[in-house]
Subunit: 123 residues, 2 copies
DNA sequence: AATTAAACTTGCAAAATGCAAGTTTAACTT
DNA sequence: AAGTTAAACTTGCATTTTGCAAGTTTAATT
């Protein structure tokens, strides 16, 4: 018996910012999008191996939700699924970029990693 | 006895996107920032009255955390605090704008509300 | 058919959130 | 200056989400 991933998609308000946060405003979704956009990752195991150490149940849950929400799709069999962003998902790119710009300016991240990220993101 | 708002600020990785998500990647922080940036709200009760119905304990927790993280500050007494964004907090503006653009394109939000948001955000 | 490894599930502990009270505190009123 | 008001904040407990450490299923490969 599969658990339904979300019974009622609770929309907190009509504000477009709030709506977008209802879609991707959790700890993990945008990191999966980042993996797809910038790190060339396309499969379950590749997402799993990312530095932030997402756990398997959460990863599965997010992949289902992101698919349901039309941000990603996959091809291939259930043994090897290849995920990619939909058109709608690609529209998240400016958000990721703005987040990266902020992070590069204010974080924390080590210099070497930053050089790598900037190169990958063409910033 | 006050509860400490966050014992260890867990940083999941050195990725600037991940770092930024560790700061504001929760259900509520960016909505408070939105209130400050676009809706002219500056006080506890004004944040409370936003459409998404944040509860008082969460609002208090987020205001403390955002202050600790240097994204907002306040003036005034403990009876009437006036919050505003720091320079660092203002650097979140491009993120909010990108989120709004996505939300406006893809949501959900009703037409009237959208007109209002676009006007306020000067989009 | 047996093996392998990717994809997915399960069960339970820990943390975050939601809700409905309450209390504290400073300003405003007599 | 005592009493009232309302904004800011706390508390306790239920619910939900996340984290972790197993497991199982499934389709390619041998």
């Amino acid at each position: 018996m599969k658990k339904e991933s979300k019974e009622t998609i609770e929309k907190r308000s009509d504000c477009p910012i709030s709506c977008t946060m209802d879609l991707v405003g959790d700890k993990w979704s945008l990191l999966i999008i980042r993996d797809l956009l910038y790190l060339g990752k396309t499969s379950y195991n590749e997402f799993l191996s990312s530095g932030e150490k997402i756990s398997t149940n959460i990863l599965n849950d997010r992949l289902v939700k992101l698919t349901e929400d039309g941000l990603i799709t996959y091809t291939g069999t259930s043994k090897r699924k290849i995920y990619k962003l939909t058109k709608k998902g690609l529209d998240l790119k400016p958000i990721l970029e703005a987040i990266a710009v902020f992070g590069i300016k204010h974080s924390c991240a080590n210099k070497e990693f930053l050089r790598h990220v900037k190169k990958v993101m063409e910033l």
